[in-house]
């Protein structure tokens, strides 16, 4: 009895072939080509200067962190369009708490912050808590009302932005200490790695581990691949999806505080396209929009592409707006290529 005849194991590609087929590796190659290409084209290889590459990583940090979170959300077959609004709202609340606890109103108006340490600690806590609470609202609406997450987060995107504007009367929170920026937001470790990027890399590393090596990660992918199968395996899918939205929200809260340290101000009119940029990076990186397949490494690498393009085009004297056009085309091409490849697999 030779068993349920299952066709002989396909003569699979070797390790090198497999690596080249993996989207994160392919994207890393694209990024490397872009960097070298812009380097060669830029006057005196200006693009490859440490200061330039360092600035790119600083510019990409918040998007990368959000992309890592979105990877988990998409892995479960959900979507979160509200993360930009969440970043704005969380930074407003974080900034208000920070300023209020750093000194008396008179002191902060004079740029005196006697209780800065307390203010910063409370500000971080407030930003992350606000983000997580925002995510919890999304999660509750998705899992209790059973409304599609696209719609829920489209709604909370407006609600979050509106709340931030109501809280601030539409102007940025004043008296945010510049020290945030000069002591952290734009500081670089060994003059190379921006401090915010260190935070982002550390969190991304943890998330990479969680997705690949833990039950939480496996259940996330299982839910995205087949919610029915996950439930039949005894996984409680609704609480899991709720937790994913809380996690995403907390990451948006961290992103909000990083944003605050970088610009030493809130940005109540900003982040309108942040969610779409992060989702685009995640999909370009090889995560399926429909759940079940996800790669955090791919998301991290792909989130570099828009910033590299924008910076490179500026250095070449081309309008940076072309970046938007290029990224749009890359997004469509990446998904089309990925679909072809999977159809062949079937």
């Amino acid at each position: 009895m030779n068993g349920l005849t299952l066709d002989p194991p396909a003569a699979g590609p070797g390790p090198l072939g497999r690596a080249l087929r993996s989207t994160p590796v392919a994207m890393a190659l694209v990024v490397a080509v872009l960097i070298l290409g812009f380097g060669a084209l830029s006057p005196n290889w200006a693009f490859l200067r440490t200061s330039n590459l360092s600035t790119i990583t600083l510019n990409v940090s918040v998007t990368m962190l959000l992309a890592v979170g979105i990877t988990m959300i998409l892995a479960a077959g959900e979507l979160d369009l509200s993360i930009g609004a969440n970043v704005v709202l969380s930074s407003v609340v974080g900034a208000k708490v920070l300023v209020a606890l750093s000194g008396t109103p008179d002191e902060v108006r004079a740029a005196q912050y006697p209780d800065l340490a307390l203010g910063v600690a409370a500000g971080i806590g407030a930003a992350v808590a606000t983000g997580a609470a925002f995510g919890a609202v999304n999660g509750l609406l998705v899992t209790r009302l059973r409304v599609n997450s696209f719609i829920v987060t489209l709604g909370t995107m407006g609600i979050g932005t509106g709340t931030a504007l109501v809280l601030t009367n539409g102007s940025n929170v004043p008296y945010v200490p510049r020290l945030l920026q000069t002591e952290f937001g734009v500081v670089r470790l060994f003059g190379v790695i921006p401090y915010p990027m260190i935070v982002v890399l550390a969190i991304s590393g943890v998330m990479l581990y969680v997705l690949r090596h833990t039950r939480f990660g496996l259940y996330t992918l299982a839910i995205g691949s087949s919610r029915e199968a996950a439930e039949r395996a005894g996984i409680r899918t609704l609480p899991h999806v709720f937790r994913l939205f809380v996690l995403m929200g907390a990451l948006a809260g961290v992103a909000a505080f990083l944003d605050l340290t970088r610009f030493a101000t809130t940005n109540v009119g900003g982040h309108q396209t942040t969610a779409l940029a992060a989702i685009a990076a995640v999909v370009i990186g090889g995560t399926s929009l429909f759940g079940g397949r996800a790669t955090i490494a791919g998301s991290m690498v792909a989130s570099l592409i828009p910033v590299i393009l924008a910076t490179g085009l500026v250095i070449l004297g081309v309008q940076a707006f072309w970046q938007l056009i290029a990224v749009g085309m890359i997004l469509i091409a990446a998904v089309a290529i990925d679909q072809r490849r999977r159809e062949r697999l079937k």
Partner: protein, 265 residues
């Protein structure tokens, strides 16, 4: 788990699983209206009925996927409200669903362990991690045990044929079952030869002391494979007999009702 093993060893404990007068409504449709069955350890019970007779609903109630509206489930004679699929699994009951319930993007090994992954500890016990090596080894072993070789258990289910998927669902159930297996049309996607292997697997599972309930439309085969036959008609159990005491014609008559088709609709 320990308790189950002890119970399973008791020879005179009566049926391993007993469903008595189960009722289930979906809206105003009565899917089950007094469905009963009993299956002993080491026995194959074929559950037969026309489309819509309630076979799948009854198995889903026994395995905890659906809650009954009435009636009683007993495991080793003890009335038990099966609260969830996990609860049924803790009772040692595994199910092969008609739709297989596999996650296509996960690997074969991941699917076989989903919900019950072995864990290991890293960094001096601080960080939990999936023990993928153990998952691979035990999944391959379980597949080989039912006569299946897949090449690699790292392949995703999406890459496999319908027959291969069905084989994985069966192997998964056999691997985990400690007291009973429920199979909803386990040979639906299979060719003749593969079907024969699944039937062998069913028989050997029963010979190992498991109680096996099989839903199938292959009545002639069930008459030879099963120890007993339960026939459902319009949500009600109309007969439970030793297979040896029934003929094909009798089964068909019982299944369709009266002397022909008029009640089948």
């Amino acid at each position: 788990m320990r308790q189950i093993e002890r119970l399973a060893e008791m020879p005179e404990a009566g049926p391993a699983i007993e469903a008595v007068g189960i009722e289930k409504r979906f809206g105003h449709i009565r899917a089950l209206d007094g469905a009963s069955l009993a299956v002993r350890s080491g026995e194959v019970l074929a559950l037969i009925g026309d489309n819509g007779a309630g076979k799948s609903t009854l198995t889903k109630i026994i395995c905890g996927a659906l809650a009954p509206d009435g009636g009683e489930l007993r495991f080793w004679g003890r009335p038990t409200a099966v609260a969830s699929i996990r609860h049924a699994q803790d009772l040692g009951v595994e199910t092969v669903y008609q739709d297989l319930a596999l996650a296509p993007d996960l690997s074969v090994a991941e699917n076989m362990f989903l919900g019950r992954e072995p864990l290991m500890r890293r960094l001096g016990g601080l960080v939990p991690a999936l023990d993928r090596r153990a998952m691979r080894a035990r999944a391959a072993e379980a597949l080989a045990g039912v006569g299946i070789s897949l090449g690699s258990v790292d392949r995703t289910v999406r890459e496999l044929s319908g027959g291969q998927r069905q084989a994985i669902a069966v192997a998964r159930a056999v691997m985990w079952a400690r007291s009973a297996i429920l199979m909803d049309e386990p040979t639906a996607a299979l060719g003749t030869r593969q079907t024969a292997i699944v039937y062998d697997t069913i028989r050997s599972a029963a010979d190992r002391g498991l109680a096996v309930v099989v839903i199938s439309h292959d009545i002639p085969k069930m008459l030879s494979l099963a120890d007993r036959i339960a026939i459902l008609r319009q949500g009600r159990t109309v007969a439970q007999e030793r297979a040896a005491d029934l003929t094909l014609a009798q089964v068909v008559t019982l299944m369709l009702g009266g002397n022909g088709r008029e009640e089948a609709a």
